[in-house]
């Protein structure tokens, strides 16, 4: 099992889409700026999200991405699955041939853990995240900063990873 930036970025980007629903397509450049994720990397992730029919794309000027379903119908577990980060904690992918064709001593433990994690994450939808106080606060801060950057003018580069921001 692994949960790295790949899965975290995917969920963050999907949540960004959910937060800006109803404002037409959202460009990856916007998400990149707001969330501080490399644009090229986002393109890779959205290719997978699109193949899994979690988002749909609109090409051309003014284009971008939109959720393909309502936020209440998309849960965190399937977003992570879509970018190939399995939530499976077993080493044998549930086949049970961990030790020369038979199950290993701890096989059932990892199965239980997988069930636990998957259950937890699939109960959380984008809609439920949007409703959370802490998410709202961070989103407002990000929108404010993005607006600020636009007014300041040419300095529209996204804030860098380690960079201190006002």
């Amino acid at each position: 099992m692994r949960l790295t930036t790949k899965g975290r970025y995917a969920v963050t980007a999907m949540l960004d889409l959910a937060l800006h629903e109803g404002k037409g397509p959202i460009s990856l450049a916007d998400i990149s700026e707001r969330q501080g994720i490399s644009l090229s990397y986002l393109e890779q992730l959205f290719a997978k999200l699109r193949r899994n029919e979690l988002v749909r794309s609109v090409r051309g000027p003014g284009g971008g991405y939109q959720l393909n379903r309502e936020p209440a119908g998309i849960n965190v577990a399937e977003v992570i699955d879509a970018v190939n980060e399995s939530v499976d904690a077993t080493g044998c992918k549930h086949t049970g041939n961990c030790q020369g064709g038979e199950v290993c001593l701890t096989h059932h433990l990892w199965c239980d853990l997988s069930t636990q994690i998957h259950g937890f994450l699939s109960d959380i939808t984008l809609a439920s995240l949007v409703a959370r106080r802490d998410v709202k606060d961070v989103a407002e801060r990000q929108d404010r900063r993005q607006l600020n950057n636009m007014i300041v003018g040419s300095d529209t580069r996204p804030a860098e990873a380690g960079e201190a921001v006002v």
Copy 2:
């Protein structure tokens, strides 16, 4: 967060010790044979388990490792921690500076997930695993096979990873 063979092997090896408690020190060679884990790799893992005072070692002929506490007092979470596989799902190690000094959009979600997983794993002790039916079954099979290999004689190498076993 990551859970790979490192953490799984560590838990498996500790459970093997718990299953053979009271039979004096258990050598890593024995564990290697029963569990199909490379001896050299076990040495690395047990160096960390010893530094974390989860096991104690006895040197010399007839030596090996023993649990440093009773099985009911050792939980799975601390074993995984001991081999440097954190159960933390955040990217910022709970510091909260995921995005230029501030928390990112999904920080609290990953905190919740971490709490969930840690809670689940720290409720499972070696003693509770030893008592499980499925663990007992696998352990018996492993002991039987090891005995068999000893009788057959010179062929005492551990069963290889992909090898089909009778």
